[in-house]
C-alpha cells in the first residue's frame, strides 16, 4: 500500500527539485498527474491516450483512465460536437479514478479548448496547437474571438505550439501528402507530452512500427519522426521550464499489464469457459458500448470460441438459449436498448431454467439516450423488466479489472443454479483501464458442470425438473440416450416438466424459481465494509462508481470523518449480511449515476431511510462532489468545522 498523499489536489504540491543528467532542463517529481488530451474525433486522441496509458503503466504508475468521445464517428471537423477526449491519471500511489480536475490539458483546436477548459486547475498547464486557431477554426467552434486572447488565459500556463507546421517540417523528407503529414501531428503532440512526463517512447515506437507494417514503413518512419520531434521540441522551448517525474507506485507484487474493462470481460469469459471445461457460444448484435467484447472475443477462435453476430438482439439471446440447451457456455451482451429487446427471451431462459450469461454494458438512457456516455440506469430494468414473476441474479462489476472476476462468478452461479445471470458493466469501466495483476491460470479452481447420462426416475420417463438441494434441475443435453425431454415457456409441472395449468403447481413453481435466485447468496461471499464497522455514515455504492466512492470515503476518513464504504457487487440477491450491516450505521448514503434505483431497492427491502446522491450527466462522479456530500451528512465533520470556526 502506498504511504504517499492521496489528495488529488495536492498532487503537484509535494514536489522536489532535482536536476536530471539526461536532459538539460530540471525535473520536478510529483506524486501524480491528471492530464486530458482532446481534439477532433478524427485527430487520434483515443490512440494518444491509450499509448500514454500503456507507457505510464509500464513505468509502474498506478493508472485510471476515462476516454470520452461523441456518438458520431466523424462529427463535422472542428465543431464542439466532434470533440473527443481521453483523460488519464497516473500516480506513484494507488488511484481509483481518472481524477476530478486536470493538471494539464492538451487541446488540438478551439472547440476542444472551450469544451474542456473548465476542468483545468488554476495555474494548470495548457498546451494548444496554435495553428488551428485561425478564423475558420474559431467559426467552426462558434467563437467570435480566439479564446487564446481572452483574459482568462492568465489563469493558466499557456503554451502555444505550432504543431501542424512543426510536424509538416519534421516529416518533410518522407514526401507524404498534405493530409498524411497533417495526420502525424498527434504523434508530435505525443512526443511533447512524453517529454513533459519523462515517459519512455519505446513501447509507442513498437506500436507505430507494428501498426504501419506491411509496406507502410514510410508512414511508420514519419510518425516516429514526428514523435521524436515533439520530444525534442519540449526539451528546447523555454516556455516549458521543466519536466515532471512520477515514480512507480507500490502495487502488490506480481506481473502486471494494462487492461480495459470490455477486454477483461472477454478474458473473464475465456477463463470461465476453461474452468468449466466448456466452449463459448457468444451471440450479440452490435451496440455501443458493448461491441468491443464481440471484437475481442472473435479474435479467439483458436480457443474454440464461436461468435455469432445475430440479425438482431432477440436472435442473439435466442440463439444463446439454443446453444445452452445443447450444453454450451452461452453468452449474450448488449446495452440498455438491446436488453429491452431481449426481455422476453430472458424470461424464457429463466422459465426453461438454463444457464445463460446476459451482460449489460450500461449507457445513458432512456431510449437511444447517450450511447457513448456512462450511466447506471438499467438496474431496475434487469431486476424487474420481464413479464410475470421472473427474478434473476444480478451482479455488477466495480472496475475494469473486476469485469474479469465478476463474469466468472456469474458463470459459476448460472451453472450451479441452472438459470440466466445478468452482469452489469457500464460505459465508464468498459472503456476505462487500470493495471491488472496477471493471474496464474494453473491456480484457477474448476467450475464443476455435469450433464446426466442416467434416467433419474426409476418409475418412468426422465424428469428434467427434478431438483437438487439448491433447487437446480439437471442439465441434460440432446444426444443423451433415454433422456429425451421437452422444455418450453408454458408453466410446467415440477419434476416431470409436463405442461401444467394446475393452480397450486404454478404457485409452487413461482416460489421455487424465486428461492433458486435467493439460494445464490449461499454461493457468494458476505459483504465487506471498508472503514469503521459501525458509526455515523455508511456509503453504499455499486458498479462502476467504486473508484470514486472509495477515494471519496478514504479522503473523508483522512479528514477525521466517521464514514465507511460498502460497495456491493451482488445486487440480486443482496449479500446475506447486508441488512445487518445497514443497521450498524446512523445514516446511509447511496450515490448512483441514476435517479435512485438501488436506493429504491434498499429502502423497500430493509426499510432503511437511505439518502441518495444522484447524477445523470453522462459523466462519472467527481471525488470532490462525493466528499462534499459526505461532509454535509456527518456530524463529526460539522462538529470539526464548528470547532475550527470557533478557534
Amino acid at each position: 500500500m502506498s504511504t504517499e498523499a492521496t489528495k488529488s489536489s495536492a498532487t503537484q504540491s509535494s514536489t522536489t527539485q532535482s536536476s536530471a543528467s539526461a536532459t538539460p532542463k530540471s525535473v520536478k517529481t510529483v506524486s501524480g498527474i491528471t492530464v486530458r488530451l482532446c481534439g477532433d474525433s478524427g485527430d487520434g486522441m483515443q490512440l494518444l491516450g491509450t499509448q500514454l496509458t500503456n507507457t505510464s503503466a509500464l513505468a509502474g504508475n498506478d493508472i485510471a483512465t476515462f476516454p470520452d468521445f461523441p456518438a458520431e464517428i466523424r462529427a463535422p471537423k472542428g465543431t464542439r460536437a466532434g470533440v473527443s477526449g481521453f483523460q488519464v491519471q497516473f500516480a506513484s500511489h494507488e488511484v481509483h479514478t481518472p481524477g476530478d480536475s486536470l493538471d494539464a490539458l492538451v487541446a488540438m483546436n478551439p472547440a476542444a479548448l472551450v469544451t474542456n477548459l473548465a476542468d483545468l486547475v488554476k495555474g494548470g498547464l495548457l498546451i494548444v496547437n496554435e495553428d488551428s486557431f485561425e478564423d475558420k477554426d474559431l467559426k467552426l467552434a462558434k467563437l467570435k474571438v480566439s479564446p487564446l486572447d481572452e483574459p482568462a488565459m492568465e489563469n493558466y500556463r499557456l503554451v502555444k505550439v505550432s504543431m501542424t507546421k512543426l510536424t509538416k517540417g519534421a516529416v518533410a523528407e518522407f514526401g507524404l501528402s498534405v493530409k498524411e503529414a497533417d495526420r502525424c501531428k498527434n504523434f508530435f503532440a505525443m512526443g511533447l507530452v512524453y517529454w513533459l512526463y519523462g515517459r519512455n517512447i519505446d513501447s509507442t515506437l513498437r506500436f507505430i512500427h507494428g501498426k504501419f507494417a506491411d509496406g507502410k514503413s514510410v508512414l511508420a518512419n514519419a510518425n516516429e519522426k514526428a514523435l521524436r520531434a515533439g520530444w525534442a521540441y519540449g526539451e528546447t522551448i523555454e516556455a516549458l521550464g521543466h519536466s515532471y517525474n512520477v515514480e512507480a507506485a507500490e502495487l502488490k507484487s506480481g506481473t502486471y499489464r494494462n487492461i480495459i474493462g470490455n477486454q477483461a470481460m472477454a478474458w473473464g469469459l475465456l477463463a470461465a469457459a476453461q474452468r468449466s471445461g466448456k466452449e463459448i457460444f457468444y451471440a450479440s448484435y452490435p451496440i455501443t458500448p458493448a461491441s468491443d467484447i464481440l471484437h475481442e472475443l472473435c479474435k479467439y477462435k483458436n480457443f474454440g470460441v464461436c461468435t455469432f453476430q445475430a440479425e438482431d438482439e432477440i436472435a442473439a439471446v435466442c440463439s444463446a438459449i439454443g446453444a445452452s440447451y445443447g450444453g454450451q457456455m452461452a453468452v449474450t451482451t448488449s446495452s440498455g436498448p438491446g436488453i429491452a429487446l431481449k426481455t422476453e427471451a430472458m424470461g424464457l431462459a429463466m422459465m426453461l431454467e438454463l444457464p445463460l450469461l446476459v451482460i449489460d454494458v450500461q449507457r445513458g438512457g432512456p431510449s437511444t439516450g447517450l450511447p457513448t456516455k456512462t450511466e447506471q440506469s438499467d438496474l431496475l430494468q434487469v431486476m424487474f423488466g420481464r413479464n410475470g414473476e421472473a427474478p434473476l441474479p444480478v451482479l455488477a462489476a466495480q472496475s475494469p479489472g473486476d469485469c474479469f472476476e465478476i463474469v466468472q462468478e456469474a458463470w459459476m452461479l448460472a451453472t450451479q443454479l441452472m438459470l440466466p445471470v445478468v452482469v452489469l458493466s457500464d460505459g465508464y469501466i468498459a472503456n476505462g483501464s487500470e493495471p491488472w495483476a496477471i493471474p496464474d491460470v494453473s491456480k484457477m479452481s474448476p467450475i464443476v458442470v455435469t450433464h446426466p447420462t442416467e434416467n433419474n426416475n426409476p418409475d418412468g420417463a426422465f424428469m428434467p425438473y427434478k431438483r437438487n438441494e439448491l433447487l437446480a434441475r439437471p442439465w441434460a443435453i440432446p444426444g443423451t440416450e433415454g433422456l429425451m425431454h421437452r422444455v418450453g415457456g408454458l408453466e410446467k409441472e415440477d419434476g416431470s416438466g409436463n405442461i401444467s395449468y394446475d393452480p397450486d403447481n404454478h404457485q409452487k413453481m413461482v416460489n421455487i424459481r424465486a428461492q433458486k435466485v435467493a439460494n445464490a447468496a449461499k454461493l457468494l461471499p458476505p459483504q465487506q465494509v471498508i472503514g469503521p464497522q459501525s458509526g455515523e455514515l455508511l456509503v453504499l455504492s455499486w458498479g462502476g462508481t467504486y473508484g470514486a466512492c472509495l477515494t471519496a470515503v478514504q479522503q473523508a476518513q483522512k479528514e477525521g470523518i466517521s464514514v465507511a464504504l460498502a460497495h456491493i457487487r451482488y445486487l440480486n440477491p443482496f449479500p446475506s449480511n447486508l441488512g445487518e450491516i445497514l443497521s450498524r450505521y446512523e445514516k446511509v448514503l447511496i450515490p448512483e449515476l441514476n435517479m435512485g434505483q438501488l436506493r429504491m431497492l434498499i429502502r423497500s427491502r430493509y426499510l432503511v431511510d437511505a439518502v441518495g446522491y444522484n447524477k445523470v450527466k453522462g459523466k462519472p462522479f467527481a471525488v470532490s462532489e462525493l466528499v462534499e456530500k459526505i461532509t454535509e451528512m456527518t456530524k463529526s465533520a460539522n462538529h470539526k468545522t464548528a470547532q475550527s470556526l470557533a478557534s
Binding site: 499489464r257 475465456l270 476453461q274 483458436n302 436472435a315 440463439s319 444463446a320 446453444a323 496464474d440 440432446p478
Partner: protein, 339 residues
C-alpha cells in the same frame, strides 16, 4: 459379437403427451407423416430436436418423443441456429406457422434461410391465427373475413416461397397436409438436403379458416388447381394431363396440349437446380390464373453456415495452435512489481 441396429418405428417417436389440437385439424396429418418418416430418416430420437415458436403448430415438439424446445413467438429459427451451430451432430427441425415465421418472426426466418444453417423448417400455413382464435395472418388472402377484419383483409398476402427464394434458400418445397404420400416424400427430401430445407405445408384450420386449401386437397379439384413439380420432367397438369406450363419470354403461360399444337418438348421442364429467377416465377403461380406448384421448387448445393463457422475455428487452431490462456494474458506489454 455383432449387434444389429434396432429398427426404429413411428411409436419410438411418439411421446406420452395428450395431443391438444382441435379434432379434424390438419396438424394431425403432418404429425403422423413426420412420425412415419423419422424412422426412415434413421436419426435416433436422442439425436433429433424439434424447436418451435408460438401458435397451434408450435405445440408439435410436445408430441414427438425427441428432444425439443417450445420457445417464444417467432424465435424458433434463432434458437435452432444457436443449437445447430454448437451441436452439428444433431438433426434439428423447426416447426412454425404463417404468423410465427412470416409476421413476428419474419426477420429470423429470412436470416436463417440466407445463412443456410443445416436444419429443416416446416411452415404450417393455414392463412389464419388459430391459437388466438381467428385473426388474419400475413398469408390471409385479400378480402378474407376474419375476427379482426369484419370488412375483409386489405393487406397484400406474403408468399412464403417467394420470400424463401429472395433469401436464396437452398431447398424450397411445398406440400399439402392431406396429400400424405407427397407430404412424406417432401419431408424426407428436406431431411436429406444439406443446408436449410424450407417446406411450406398447406394446412387446413377447420375451425377458423375451413377449406382455405380445399382446391389443393379435394381429389375433384386438386389435379386442376395444382401442378406437381418433378425434376427433369415437363410441367404438365390437369385431370386429363392436357395442360402445361410454357416459358414465353420472361413470363409463364398455361398452354393446351389437347389439340397437339403445343408439344411436351415445348413446355418448361422443371429443374430443381435452376436459377432463382425461374424459381421465383414458379413461386408466383397463383390461382386462378395458374395451378399452384406442389413439390420441390429448388434443391441446390451450398456451403452450410456451421461448416463455414467451424471451418474458421479449425483454421484458427491450425494456424495459431489451441489457445493458451496464460500466454494470452501475458501477451503484449507487461511489467513486474516487487519480488
Amino acid at each position: 459379437m455383432s449387434t444389429a441396429l434396432p429398427v426404429l418405428k413411428a411409436e419410438d417417436f411418439t411421446s406420452d403427451q395428450d395431443i391438444r389440437w382441435c379434432p379434424g385439424c390438419g396438424d394431425y396429418s403432418i404429425l403422423a407423416q413426420m412420425k412415419k418418416v423419422l424412422p426412415e430418416i434413421g436419426v435416433p430420437p436422442e439425436k433429433t430436436v424439434f424447436i418451435s415458436g408460438i401458435g397451434c403448430s408450435s405445440r408439435f415438439p410436445y408430441y414427438v418423443n425427441t428432444y425439443g424446445v417450445h420457445s417464444i413467438h417467432g424465435r424458433a429459427p434463432a434458437v435452432a441456429t444457436g443449437l445447430r451451430l454448437t451441436r452439428p451432430d444433431l438433426s434439428v427441425w423447426v416447426i412454425t406457422g404463417d404468423g410465427d415465421s412470416l409476421s413476428i418472426g419474419g426477420n429470423h426466418f429470412i436470416h436463417l434461410l440466407r445463412r443456410n444453417v443445416d436444419l429443416n423448417i416446416v411452415l404450417f400455413n393455414n392463412r389464419i391465427y388459430g391459437l388466438t382464435k381467428g385473426q388474419y395472418s400475413p398469408t390471409s388472402v385479400e378480402g378474407q373475413i376474419t375476427k379482426s377484419t369484419p370488412m375483409g383483409v386489405v393487406d397484400h398476402p406474403l408468399n412464403p416461397i417467394s420470400v424463401a427464394v429472395g433469401a436464396e434458400a437452398s431447398f424450397i418445397a411445398r406440400s399439402v397436409d392431406s396429400n400424405v404420400k407427397h407430404l412424406a416424400y417432401t419431408l424426407k427430401r428436406a431431411a436429406a438436403h444439406k443446408g436449410t430445407s424450407f417446406v411450406e405445408v398447406y394446412q387446413n384450420c377447420n375451425v377458423f379458416n375451413d377449406g382455405a386449401f380445399a382446391y389443393a386437397q379435394d381429389k375433384a379439384t386438386r389435379d386442376d388447381a395444382t401442378i406437381e413439380l418433378e425434376h427433369g420432367k415437363p410441367m404438365i397438369f390437369g385431370k386429363e394431363r392436357d395442360r402445361g406450363i410454357r416459358l414465353n419470354g420472361l413470363s409463364l403461360e398455361v398452354v393446351d396440349l389437347s389439340e397437339g399444337k403445343v408439344k411436351e418438348d415445348d413446355l418448361l421442364f422443371h429443374d430443381e437446380k435452376a436459377s432463382s429467377t425461374l424459381v421465383y416465377m414458379l413461386s408466383r403461380m397463383r390461382r386462378p390464373d395458374f395451378p399452384e406448384p406442389i413439390g420441390v421448387f429448388r434443391d441446390v448445393v451450398s456451403e452450410t453456415y456451421e461448416d463455414a463457422v467451424h471451418g474458421q475455428i479449425n483454421e484458427a487452431v491450425q494456424q495459431r495452435g489451441k489457445g493458451n490462456l496464460q500466454k494470452l494474458f501475458s501477451s503484449g506489454d507487461t511489467w513486474k512489481v516487487g519480488a
